[in-house]
């Protein structure tokens, strides 16, 4: 059955990523990254429950540049996952499956997530 000359369908590295595929991958990546965030959330509460000195250590780690970078990325992940999650719920209701609609909603999610993240972090400056 092996025929080395058969035409191969283009794979991930060959064709231009449709935006719907980007969002699908991002939904999983952001979800897994927030699963890691759950650990940090639990750690934050546990350090707070362990007294001022222990908590101060956690606070210093999270307000270091790498800590802030992680928090910014988690904010972005939250809004991408939130927006795309709502997109999925709309799909579950049977709406929005036309290709132009799916492409448009994908861009709406990305723009919303970018703006919301930027707005909240600019507020902190």
């Amino acid at each position: 059955m092996t025929n080395p000359d058969r035409p191969l369908s283009p794979h991930l590295s060959i064709y231009r990523w449709p935006i719907t595929m980007v969002l699908s991958i991002l939904h999983r990546v952001t979800g897994i990254s927030m699963a890691v965030g759950l650990v940090v959330f639990a750690a934050w509460l546990m350090y707070a429950a362990s007294g001022p000195e222990k908590y101060q250590y956690f606070r210093e780690v999270m307000s270091s540049p790498p800590g802030i970078l992680l928090l910014v990325l988690w904010t972005l992940a939250f809004f991408i996952h939130l927006g795309n999650g709502i997109r999925h719920l709309v799909w579950d209701s049977g709406h929005g499956f036309e290709i132009p609609q799916a492409n448009a909603s994908a861009w709406i999610v990305l723009v919303f997530a970018g703006l919301a993240t930027a707005l909240l972090w600019v507020m902190q400056l």
Partner: protein, 126 residues
């Protein structure tokens, strides 16, 4: 030779007979988290300085305690379901999949319990 009819032998073997509650649980927790997540995000961004006393005061306020407990449990549940799907899709072969599923399940239970314990301890510590 069995006396069961051919139909009787295959009935019920076709599907996993489970999974609907996974699908629904994922979505119900998603709707909850849309609210809880936005609440938590807003609280974090309107926090003054994350100084120890400010954070303790925030956590021990009864409404905040309850919402934090809800968030921890809903988040752990949703995250466990989601991680399970990703592991089932990408981890294959031998013991890797069951071990990864087990590790993820245990990790989520531990994270949820740690968060709940911490909130209750801060809330009831007078």
């Amino acid at each position: 030779m069995s006396l069961k009819t051919p139909l009787g032998r295959v009935l019920g073997l076709g599907s996993a007979k489970a999974g609907t509650e996974h699908f629904i649980g994922q979505r119900v927790s998603a709707i909850g988290l849309a609210f809880l997540g936005c609440w938590f995000c807003w609280q974090m961004f309107t926090m003054d300085s994350f100084a120890y006393l400010e954070v303790i005061r925030f956590i021990r306020t009864p409404a905040n305690s309850i919402l934090l407990l809800l968030l921890a449990l809903t988040l752990a549940y949703h995250s466990w379901l989601g991680t399970q799907v990703v592991i089932e899709d990408y981890v294959h072969g031998g013991l890797a999949k069951p071990l990864a599923l087990l590790a993820s399940r245990f990790a989520h239970i531990v994270a949820a319990l740690v968060a709940v314990y911490a909130v209750l301890r801060i809330g009831f510590d007078s």
